[in-house]
Each structure stands twice: as C-alpha cells, then as structure tokens.
Amino acid sequence: MLEIKNLHVSIEEKKIIKGLNLSINKGEVHALMGPNGSGKSTLSYVLSGKDKYEIDDGTIEYNEKNLLELDVDERANEGLFLAFQYPMEIPGVQTSFFLKTAINSKRKYLGHSEMDALEFAKLMKSKAEELNINTEMLKRDLNVNYSGGEKKKQEILQMSMLSPKMAILDETDSGLDIDALRIVSEGVNKLRSKENSFLVITHYQRLLNYIKPDFVHIIADGRIVKSGDYSLALELEEKGYEEISKSA
C-alpha cells in the first residue's frame, strides 16, 4: 500500500526528516509516536502533498504509483486521506455541501456519475449516527464555531464517507475528552478492514488503547528509531521517549 524509502525532507533549508523508511501493507494499522518536533506532522503533510516541503531524497510508492508525482487532489482521489490536527474553517460553506462536493469530486475522478441528493442524504445520516453526530451540526458552516471535539468528529465523518484506502490520523486524539476519544476511535475501528490501512500519529499511548495497532514505530529526529508491536507503546509509556531513543 505505502512504501517510504530513505526519505529526506527539508523546509526552508532546515532538515526535518532524515532518512525515514516505512512500509505499510494493506489492512495494517501502524502507529507513529514521537516527541514534539520529531517530524510526525511533517510526514503527514509530505504524504498528502502540502507545499513548501522540499523532498531532498528518497521515494514514496503508493498503490504502485509514485506518490510524489501526484497533485494534492489526485492523491486524495486515489484514496489517501489526512485527518487534520487543526481542521480548517470555511465560512459560508455548509458542512453537508462540502461533504457532497468532496464525494462527487472523487466520483468524477474515478469516472463515476454524481451521487444523487437522496442517496447522499441517506449515507450522511447513517454515518453521522454511527459517530453520534447531530445532523443539525452538518447544516452549519464547515468547522465554524465547532468545538475542538466536534471538529475532530467531523474529520472522522469525512473519512468514513470518503472510505479511503490509506488514512493518516494526525494527532486526532489531541484536545478530545474521554467520551469523544471513544466515539472517534470506534469510528476508526468500524472502517478497519483487509482492504485499507491506517497511519495513526499520536503523542500518547492512550489512543492506542482504543485503536489497537498492528505495529508501533517511534520517530525521533526525523528517523524511525524503533519499531515493534503494541507492547512497544506500553514500554514507551513507562520509560519515556528519551530512554527508548537512547536504547535504540
């Protein structure tokens, strides 16, 4: 699904990622953990194609395609989804209209006809219910005056409606209370299947109690310093980043 080899990335001459390797197969859930400034969010932006990041070396293969050659919207329409740490507000654009536009952009890209209004309304209603989202909220402007928790739930709603092949969750747990964390995690777990993969970026082991990863990687100073299974997250919780990085 995703194969990152020897990735080097800099921003404004500053090296952020320094030789990162990561391979994610279909159906796998990988957790990426690391301290602030280790390059976690940079990786999520590089994968989704944000500007300003200079790829100095390395390759990224996604579904047998060279990911770095695709535009932001092409990557999205090829099934790569980023749940934002800070979802953007778009005043004047109704959330439901935005969802519909996103779904139809993808369908258009894949050569399918647009989803009709009724089918869309049904889909939105059922997905919103799964996530405990009041559909009244979807009539409001996208993310405008949403609480932190509402914004994150809304990201997961978008994810479940677009059903991506590869979803990246960038610190989705930050700013969530326990109830919201549980709902969001359940939303993610419902999407898990043999067909799609997840990269869950987080600071804390807490989220991984709810979303059980197949693999855990620890990133420090732009490289993955240690990989393991779920027990690595528990070890990390106990010892802290510094000690784990040292022992690596």
């Binding site: 194609g49 535009d71 932001v72 919207d73 999205a76 953007m88 778009i90 004047g92 935005f98 890209y109």
Partner: protein
Amino acid sequence: MAATEQTIKQVNTLGDTDYKYGFSTELDEIRPPKGLNEDIIKFISAQKDEPEWMLDWRLNAFKIFNKLPKPEWAKLNIPEIDYQDCYYYSIPKSLKDKPKSLDEIDPEIIKTYEKLGIPLKEQKMLSGIAVDAVFDSVSVATTYKKQLSDLGIVFCSISEAVKTHPDLVKKYLGSVIPVSDHSFAALNSAVFTDGSFIYIPEGVRCPVELSTYFRINAMNTGQFERTLIIADKDSYVSYLEGCTAPMRDENQLHAANVELVALDNAEIKYSTVQNWYPGDKEGKGGIYNFVTKRGACRGKNSKISWTQVETGSAITWKYPSCILQGDNSKGEFYSVAITNNMQQADTGTKMIHIGKNTSSKIISKGISAGKANNTYRGLVNILSKAKNARNFTQCDSLLIGNKCGAHTVPYIESSNSDSMVEHEATTSKINEDQLFYCQQRGLNSEDAVGLIVNGFCKEVLQHLPMEFAVEAQKLVAISLEGSVG
C-alpha cells in the same frame, strides 16, 4: 508551487476565449454616423417616433451634459472618452418595423438569445420569469406580456411606454435621478435608447420575476439603457437584469440610468448579474460600465432592495442608492464585485435617510485578483428629520495574489443624535491552508477557490432569486477560474 502562486498562474493562463458570451452576430444594422450632437438626438427620437415633449427633454439634457464636467471622485483610471468617436444608435435592420410577433423576428437574433440561454419563443420560455430582451439600442421582445396585462401590470420597453403611458413617464422620468445629477446621467437622458418600463398597480403582487437581458452586439456602439420601475401602493415586484457583450478590442460604453419609485407599503427587489466583457488580460477592450441606479422609497413603509453581482466590464462605476423619504422605509444593498486581471471597479451605495424610523443595510463583498483594483465607496447620510434612523454596513474584501488592491471608502454623515450607524470592515487574503484542506478532500484547485469564494459571497448570493443564484454561483467560480474565483 505555493497555492496562491498556482492560483495566480491559473488566472494568467485564463485565455481571452474563456468569456463564453464573446461571440457576435452578423446583422445588417441601421446606424447614424458616429458622433454626439443635436442631429443625432433628433435622429434617435425620430427613429423611435417619439412625441415632441420627449425630444425636448432629450435636447435639454444634452445642453446640461455639455456644461457638466466628468465625475472625478472614483478611484479609477478612466481614459479620456471621445464622445464623438462612438455610435449612439444601432438597431438590426430587421427590427426597424417593430415585429408584431416572434415569428417576424430575424432568426439570427432569436438564435443569439438562445445561445445566451434566454429563449424567447413561447414554448421555450423560462417558467416564472418574464423577459424583455434589449439588443443594442432596441427592445426585441417581451415575454408573458398578456398574462401580466391581465393583472394591470405594465411591462414593456421604455420606448413603447413613452407612447402608451406618457403620463406615468412624464411624472416619474428624471424624478429620482435629476438630469443634472452628473454628466453620465445627463448623457443618458439625452441619448437613451431602450430599457424596461414597469408599472405595478396598487395592491398587486407581481407573480413572476420580471427580467431584462441587455446585449451589446454592434461595434463601437454605446448602450444607453433607461429603466423606470414604479411600484404603486401595496404592491411588490422582483426584477432582474443580465448583461453580456461580444469580445471586441475597443472599449464600449454602457451608461445606464435606472430609476425606481416605491409608494406606500410597496416593495421593489432589484437584482443584477452583470457580466459585460471585461477586456483581455492586458486590459485591452471591454465595457466601460457607468451606471446610475437610484431608488426612491417615497411612501411610508416602502422598501427597496438592490442585489448585484458584478463580474464583468473593464471599468465599473456604479452606486445603486436609496432615498428613504417615507417614514419607516427600508433600503438594502447587497453586492458582490469581482475584479480580475486589469479590471477596475469602484462601486457601492448611498443611503439617504430622510423619513423617521428609516433603516438601511449594506453588505458588500469585494474580490480582487490579478492586477485588479476594487473599491467600495459608500455614503450613509442621515438628515436631521430622520429620527431613529438605523444603518448597518459590512464591507469585506478578499484578495487573491499580491498584485491586486482592495479599498474601502465609507462616508458617514449624521445630523441626528437619535440615529445609530454601524460599520464593520474586513480585508483578508485567500488562505492557503483552506485551499490545501479542500484539495486534500479531492477538489481541484479551481473548484477549491470557487468554493471558498462562494462561501465568502454567500450572504449576498442568497438574496438573488433562486433561479439566478445557481447561475451566479457558477459565474463567481468561472470568473475566478478565469479570474481566480
């Protein structure tokens, strides 16, 4: 490449061919020689078979025009206009003897309107909208006439009204915009060619949208539209105008005067979607749009609401205004003005509060891209008798790229201590993170810009009649695709 850079690049690649109304129609025309003088005015009047009082009114206006200087207040770079190097009248030959039915209209003209999406033939008429189609200097056809006249509603060309309803025309023409107001108003009064006339009788709520579609076709020809709408007591009317012109290298002049009169408890809703040819990206060609629009809320509890979407023209100079004379009367102005490439717009409104408890609301959204300049200029004037007058003004500007400009020039004059005036203004640049967010959800960059800009304009677009709101949204996206939006 940075998102805005990409957007700017798209704007720059916007070829001249992206103006989809840029075609012209080959027709034989009746045109007097170029130039502006009394003989031309007499020629126009004679062509229209006008009564003497109308000709005298025009000649008087021409005398005034000669004495008035060009208005200079706007932040516009208007090249010297050679009034002698322009045709003031042009009609397709086939329309000389006014066709009695659509079957007699030159099929080329019918086809032109069909290409513009304005079918005139009965079986294809737009449902719920009566259309008056003006081609260069003459009204081609008015649909739904019979149905409207059964209600006592008069909807015809102004040329026709001069003959059929001279008393109404004499009473109201020039009563809202005095001939001597400024030089463009005087010029229009001297040489106006056609436009719509609407009279809604007392107690009648007009059941359909009334609409005029202006088309400039002939080369080097000015279009001098004159529209007069009178809503008698307790009546209601919603009116919409649309405008397009072929792409031509030279500039063409459109100087319109629009007067609205609302009597007691009457309401007029006036919407404009202006998409005149804006010129190419170097600023060559395009329409000079010098428009005077003014409504008088003469009666108590009357209301006039202007909604405009201005996307076209090389230069837009336009301030739809309300004179709030009647007690409790209301004026509203909702505006979206988009400028791209070398376009210039100086637009806004005037709200003159005279009566007691009068209120006004101004929502202006200006969007600039390319090297364009966009100015909001507005006056809120509260006179001493306007006890308890209220105004709320909100001006938002959105910039796309770093070579364009947005300017807000509000004037507030209050001579009354009971009044309350609020003004809010914001200026922002289109946000790259918003664009990235939309693109990450699969929207291409043009669709993303269109979505964000439409969101920015939503407060205004939602005031358009439903049928046109969708068109306007597309137009906003196209002119930004083409102009960033």
